[in-house]
C-alpha cells in the first residue's frame, strides 16, 4: 500500500463511505424528509456491510497475499455452508458433502495460493464433479440422483470456484506492475461490483418499468440493468489508472461486463431463494449475517473479470 495510486483509490473510497454514512445517519435522524424509512434502513445496513468489508479487506491486504487467500477461503466455506443448508440434501449425500467441505474446498484454495492456475482451473469443475457423482452413486441412493449432485456442484462452482478468482487476481502476472497493482485490481473489482449493485437499485427505483422476471425478483428491472452497466462502465473508465493493464476503454468494458455479471448473480441467487421460499440466506438461520447475500454478485463477476484482465494484459505485453 505504498504507491500514490493505491492511496488515492483507498482514500477516495473511504471518503465516499464517510460521506454516505453521514448522509445515512442524517436521513435516519430526520424521518420527515419524505423518504421511505425502510429504504433508509436498507441503505444504512448496506453501508455497515461495506465498512465491514473494507476493514476486513484492508486487514487482509496488509497481511499479504496468503492472508487474503485464506480470508476468501473462509468466506467461500461459509457461503457454501449457507448454500447447502438451504438446499435439501439426502442422507446419501453426506459423505460426498464431507469431502466437499473438508477436502475439495481447502485444497482448491491451497492451489489458488500456490498460483497453480493450470490445476485450480480444472480441479473443482472436473475432478470434484466426478468425485461427487461417483461418491453419491457409491452411497447407493439413486433417488433424484442428477438433481442432488447438481445442487452440490452448483454450490461448489458458485461459492468456491468462482469466488476464488477474486484472490487469484493478486497473483495474475502483470507486465511492469508492482504488488500494489494486483491489490488495486482486486479492490477495483470489488468496488465495481458494489457500485453496480447500488446503481442497479437506484436506476430501478428511478426509471424501472419492465421487470426482468417478476416471479424471481420484484425489483430488478431492465432499466436498472442497463443503467447500472452504463454507470459502472463510466466509473471504471474514470478509474482506469487504478487497474494496471487497462486502457480507459478496456476498463469501461470490464465495468460493463462486471455489472452485467453481478446482476446475473443476484438474479440467480434470487431464483434459488424463491424456490426455497426464503428472502435472505441470512434469515434462514437467525443471527448469521447471510454471507451469500453479500457475495453473490462478486461470485459471478470475479471469473469474467479475471479472464478479461488476463486477455488485456496479454495484449499489452504482446
Amino acid at each position: 500500500m505504498n504507491d500514490i495510486r493505491t492511496i488515492a483509490l483507498v482514500a477516495g473510497v473511504l471518503g465516499l463511505l464517510a460521506v454516505a454514512t453521514a448522509v445515512g445517519q442524517f436521513l435516519k435522524r430526520h424521518p420527515d424528509r419524505g423518504l421511505d424509512p425502510a429504504a433508509v434502513d436498507t441503505f444504512n445496513l448496506r453501508l455497515r456491510g461495506w465498512w465491514i468489508m473494507c476493514t476486513v479487506l484492508a486487514a487482509a491486504f496488509w497481511l499479504g497475499t496468503t492472508a487474503t487467500v485464506v480470508l476468501f477461503g473462509l468466506v467461500s466455506f461459509w457461503a457454501l455452508r449457507e448454500f447447502i443448508t438451504l438446499t435439501p440434501t439426502r442422507k446419501g449425500d453426506h459423505r460426498a458433502l464431507f469431502w466437499v467441505f473438508f477436502l475439495f474446498t481447502p485444497l482448491h484454495y491451497v492451489l489458488v495460493g500456490l498460483n497453480r492456475y493450470d490445476v485450480f482451473s480444472v480441479f473443482l469443475p472436473v475432478y470434484a464433479t466426478l468425485f461427487v457423482l461417483a461418491r453419491v452413486a457409491f452411497a447407493g441412493d439413486y433417488k433424484r440422483f442428477l438433481e442432488r449432485t447438481a445442487k452440490i456442484q452448483a454450490g461448489l462452482v458458485v461459492c468456491v470456484y468462482c469466488l476464488s478468482f477474486a484472490p487469484a487476481l493478486l497473483q495474475l502476472p502483470l507486465a511492469g506492475a508492482t504488488d500494489g497493482g494486483n491489490f488495486r485490481l482486486l479492490f477495483f473489482l470489488i468496488l465495481l461490483v458494489q457500485f453496480a449493485d447500488c446503481m442497479q437499485y437506484v436506476w430501478s427505483r428511478m426509471l424501472g418499468r419492465r421487470l426482468v422476471a417478476a416471479s424471481v425478483s420484484s425489483n430488478r428491472t431492465w432499466e436498472g440493468l442497463l443503467g447500472s452497466a452504463t454507470s459502472t462502465a463510466l466509473l471504471a473508465a474514470a478509474l482506469w489508472w487504478a487497474a494496471p493493464p487497462f486502457e480507459p476503454w478496456q476498463a469501461a468494458l470490464a465495468g460493463f461486463v462486471v455489472a452485467l455479471m453481478g446482476f446475473a448473480g443476484g438474479m440467480t441467487m434470487s431464483a434459488i431463494k424463491r424456490d426455497r421460499g426464503v428472502k435472505d440466506y441470512g434469515t434462514l438461520v437467525v443471527g448469521h449475517g447471510g454471507v451469500l447475500d453479500r457475495i453473490d454478485s462478486i461470485c459471478f463477476a470475479a471469473p469474467v473479470f479475471y479472464h478479461l484482465t488476463q486477455l488485456f494484459a496479454g495484449w499489452g505485453s504482446a
Partner: protein
Amino acid sequence: MLSPADTPTTPAPAGAGTHDGPSVFCRAAGLSLAALARLLSGASVRWIASQPDTCQRVYFANHTSHLDAIVIWSSLPQAVRELTRPVAAKDYWQRGVVRRWLAQQVFNAILIDRTDIKVHQSPVDLMLREIGMTKSLIVFPEGGRSVTGEIGEFKSGLYYLAKKRPDIELVPVHIDNLNRVLPRGEFLPVPLLSCISFGPPLWLERGEAKVDFLERARRAVIALKE
C-alpha cells in the same frame, strides 16, 4: 446379563463428580468442546419468550443426532451450563475410554440403562436423585433419535419428572438441521448451519392426564420450529 454388574457402578462416578467438581483440565476440555461444537454445527441460539436462568429446569428436546446433547449444552451460558446435566444412553456413552471420560467428567452426564429399566430403580428416580435441588437436566423424551425427522411420541418419563417435582420448569427445546450435520449412523460431520430454539417453560397442570400432558409438551417443541 451385564446390567446387574453395571448397576452399582452408576452412582459412584456421578457421586464423585458432585463432590469434587470437575478438575481444571476437564473444565478446559468442556469449554473447548463447547466452542468446537458451536463452530461445527454453526448453531444459532434463540430464546423465544424465555430467558436463560440458573433455576432448576428440565430442558426437553427433539432428538435427531448424537450431537444434540452437546450442542444444547454448549448453547447455554456458562453459568447455566455448569449446573446442567445431559441424560444419555448408557449403552452408547459407556463404550470406549474417550466416550466414558467425556460423559462422566466433561458433560457430567447421567447415564441411563435403556435395556434394564426396573420399577425400584426407575430412571426418573435416578435423575431426580442426581440433580438434587440445584442441577438442571437435558432430556430427549422421544427415547431415541428419530429416523424420519418427524418428532415422535414422547415417552412418559417427562410426565413422571413433572409429577414428582412440580416446582421444576420444563423448557421445550427445538433442534433444527442438526440431523444433517451428523445423521444417524455417520461419524463424520458436515458443517451445515443449525438452529437451537428455547421456548417458554411449562408445568404439569393440576389433574392433567399423562397423554394430554405429553402431547402438550410435544406440541410445545413443534411450535418452536417456526
